[in-house]
Subunit: 365 residues, 4 copies
């Protein structure tokens, strides 16, 4: 079923197809009297915009966010905030072939099977372009969270090349540097991506994210677990195939002693915590509830499914008969979509956290 | 916030603490006229029961499921089905120490920070005992799905020892064999677990699951994506720290050509599909919608946090002052909880799939 | 569709059929550390119990409420509270005729058309017995609301006989006095009900309810309007056919001047309000949001559909053929169900208000 | 809390303030492959537009509906449909006084108390202008319901003047005739409204609505009762103070025999029903489920709160001090808002019914 709403108290609902009139969303449940301007949103949207490095799609979208409602004299009113970005540089002709053939790795075939119809222009609703509204809404979520909570993400691996932890420098991760936190790794990734593009293929990537400053107590013991909600939010980003919390899959080969996050009395009490965890294998969440430690997440992004190399596929002719064919993607695509997913990851985490902040307040005051 | 409901149309809501009166749940939205008996439920619950091998907790719970409502003359009526299992063998004394000290890796500390109170007896609401109701409800979900859809899971790794794919035999995976699908691996796992128990520690594990027979078209393009809902369901199981769909984290180091699931015309049309996928890296889901291929999932389960070895921790004395202490878990625990999680994994997958079957029917008829 | 949950943050989900094992509910989202005992619940349930006057059904149910979860050492823990009442005095034989014939005015026919099956014993899920759990849950809602908010209801009319406003005395309304707030009206109602019973018929009634002490600001401008949520809650009580807020249907023949609730500065500022409304035609709610005034509601309850007089109806024989028949209800029924609906009305109002208290806190802190 | 979504499967979420950029909505859960054009929507929106008779507000809004998403080649795709109408004729100056004084009977005061801020221009979010999107979405709901289900409403009373049932002629009810179904009553209403306007006041009204062709079986026994959902939908329309189903408040003074809807075998079996109800006091809904009879609803609309006559009220000065004042509404207002509410009533009923059609299909196939 179509179900385009995300969140419990802070509810995000989006609309729009890649080559339709506009992309838009409604964010509902926003606390009143939060200062909010177009600039607050535009800043985040810019980080996701294509064309910031030569390794992102060359689609030229100005991506000007418009606030349609919910803000009065520079502050939120408690009413739903609707946001809109017009689609400008939509070249549906690039996609004419999709009308006839299902692109492997894309939603084309599944969508057609589900609905018996699909808006094939630019991938329609399944296009990663939809994520622009998540980024805009995420900017509002960050304002709700306030300055104490910092959410950030970076690319930690592209293809076989992982960054070195000891080189990790958050300040180095910008759209221009492919969100790479390892200064020395950057040129190697650039070479790798150049080669992939030349070969007509694409590369997978890994993203690491963290949220600092989340107090102990957000989340729920069951079914609104903070980790489960984060997992859904991240797995719901286009092309994501795996999600880890804390030590993630590394726990499989560990024993209980190694994986224990022992606790001590904190030398200096912070407002979050009177205790000091001696490790953070849990990734800041135990029993579905935040512990006051840093929340740590990791996710796997598959290589862009659209490649220039010809792939074997099927389609339906005018009479609905299934037939085989070869498809070569000629549209404008990112050689590694993990890069542009970084601001989306941050936005989704911020939306989940802000929702849980409000949920916690609802029950526990 | 407390939010003990799971699902959109088929909604599961549970109650109960480990050492409370009973564990129970309400499953709402069940289609009418489905035959349902206590035996249908008991069969699944038995697979999860402790004490079936010497490598599970020795807590002796008869786990007799009682149907309290929603069934008349052996068939569902469309009314909510409430299920209950009485807690019989609750030894709260084993847990007295938890009243004073937070167990590392458990929800004790986070729960206390959230609610300012906690039912410490046996872990209260955070106990894995709650999963017994998911298994019972999952048995109903399997009946809704019908015989065409087969959901199954197995343990594929314990500690460092992974099963060999070429040895995989689904029929070998039972509670008595630790849900191990590799006949030759079983004795090695048994030795490993014996040693862990002797050492006073515990081991992590990996579970692989699949759902066969799901037709193309279940799920949604966004925010009720089938993979996102499955990720939340699995990450929401106690001790799970990572979830993969299809190739999972392996996609990170792949290129787009390798990861493509090419398509051909099916030689023999099945009722699901007129097409034949040449690979299944996607794990049966594209763009949040099932493709008719086998759905493939994998998850990481951390080593049981309760270990006999002493761990450093903190607690609160009667005056609420934080103080340090050492904790050794003496209760009855599983050396590797991945084993008993297998039926829970199946149940959660079945609940998600049955919900999406109904959701798909709602929108698309 | 079956949808047995009510509320947004404070969520009530019930189970149970009139002649099944038990009636029960889960109340989720309850704030932690609220003192709660069986006695708190039993007190309210007693007010609804049958047999307290000779004008209610003679079904003898002890209605002992059992708390199954969510309370530890006398206080709520934030976990879901499950409640259960066993069905003891279920005489399914009284209802054997319903298995063959649809009772006019009851849910029998519609249920059968919807589900193709029905638990006909005592009306199954559609029995007013389900409301006992609303009353029990309402008792918890009242504890959440605290002592400042007082919710109360009374019967204001039975058949043609309405109480006189100038005689209104809230203290006179108890189960034993048919919740009649007019001491002089009571004997006239008793005579009327005696006659109705003798005549083998039943009588309609009107209930007035109010909530005092609700601060200004609960509710929402749209779609979670306090009046809309209250209307749904009250229209959802068995046999209710009309709901009014404030002046209700009287507004139809008024002009805007008459209906205005003018405002003045309050002489004595209360914690709710710095203003003083000069009238309360709005019934304490404007634009879906409470104004701090008394919330006033009124509802119409139809005469009990089960009457001893024979009624013309249809049914289905063993082969599913529709056939006509006459039905005379011989079971134990209330001559005027408005009477026993009073505690249910209070409970539903309390549940809605407590939910909105938490919702308001979620968004506005 | 702000909660701007309505519906369970077919979910309507709206945005927009009276004098903001635009009014808009997202309708989610629409079945695919339904033909849909701007004209389909515009036709319904026109019926609600002001200025169609001299008895509606003279605000001149062209109200051109724009489809922003979810439609491809003239058919719905299953994706969310976003609709937008730009605000053109917004004269905020007319409302400058509202910035300082709370209008009696309006949401001004309650909104300010809730949020501590309000968009006072034209009433902001609380303006009846928001209902234009409900009408547009209702047009889609009617397409989902198909031609077998007919939803219609009319004004049955203005002030003291009620139409005569024997004169009832549905074809006579258009925006130009004030949705009056009684040809002879129309001139009397016109005179009454002229006088009210001259007197600087306004009038209440009553609306009757019906839905024909709804099959037996839509709705739910509890908490998604069809009547409860309809009550919430109608009570949620601006200025509505009472809702009745079927005989409504008339049941109070009836006995059970009078109020019985006896049944007989239908002479001619229709596809809905093999039975023939001999009366319809229930208004087509029993136990929360449709019976296949005509659904009958009635509602009370208060007189427009904005009147030209001066009313006593309070406001806050620049320093937040509460002070008294007199307010005279000079904006463009309807002397009887019941008239323009008619298409909104139809839309809300259609939205509820279409949602229940899908919900029923989800559970019962």
């Amino acid at each position: 079923m179509s179900f385009n709403t995300f969140g419990r108290i802070l509810r995000f609902t989006s609309w729009g197809e890649s080559h339709g009139v506009s992309m838009g969303c409604i964010l509902d449940g926003i606390p009143p009297r939060i200062s909010l301007s177009t600039e607050d949103l535009q800043r985040e949207v810019e980080r996701r915009r294509s064309g910031l490095s030569r390794f992102t799609s060359q689609r030229k979208e100005p991506d000007q966010v418009q606030i349609l409602s919910g803000v009065f004299e520079g502050r939120t009113t408690g009413a739903p905030v609707a946001l809109q970005i017009l689609n400008v540089d939509a070249k549906s002709k690039d996609y004419a072939e999709i009308a006839r053939l299902y692109r492997p790795g894309h939603a084309d075939y599944a969508t057609q099977q589900k609905y018996g119809v699909r808006d094939w222009r630019g991938g329609g609703r399944a296009s990663a372009r939809e994520t622009v509204m998540r980024v805009a809404a995420g900017a509002i979520a960050k304002k709700i969270l306030g300055k104490k909570v910092v959410v950030r993400a970076a690319v930690s691996q592209i293809g076989p090349l992982a960054v070195h932890d000891e080189q990790w420098d958050w300040t180095h991760g910008t759209p221009e540097t492919l969100f790479c936190p390892d200064r020395e790794m950057l040129p190697r990734w650039q070479a790798l991506l150049d080669q992939a593009r030349k070969d007509g293929t694409s590369l997978g990537g890994r993203i690491e994210a963290q949220a600092r400053g989340v107090p102990a107590g957000w989340g729920a013991p069951l079914y609104a677990k903070l980790d489960a909600d984060l997992a859904a939010a991240l797995m719901g980003i286009n092309a994501v195939k795996g999600v880890e919390v804390g030590a993630g899959f590394a726990v499989v080969s560990r024993d209980g002693r190694q994986n224990a996050d022992e606790m001590a009395v904190a030398e200096k009490h912070t407002d979050n915590n009177a205790v000091n965890f001696l490790a953070n294998n849990a990734g800041g969440i135990l029993g579905g509830i935040s512990t006051g430690q840093e929340i740590r997440l990791s996710l796997a992004v598959k290589p862009t499914s659209s490649v220039r190399l010809p792939l074997r596929t099927v389609g339906a002719d005018d009479k609905g008969e299934v037939k085989e064919g070869m498809i070569e993607t000629k549209g404008r695509h990112d050689p590694c979509i993990a890069i542009r997913a970084v601001p989306v990851v941050e936005a989704m985490i911020a939306l989940v956290l802000a929702d849980h902040q409000l949920l916690h307040r609802a029950q526990c005051g």
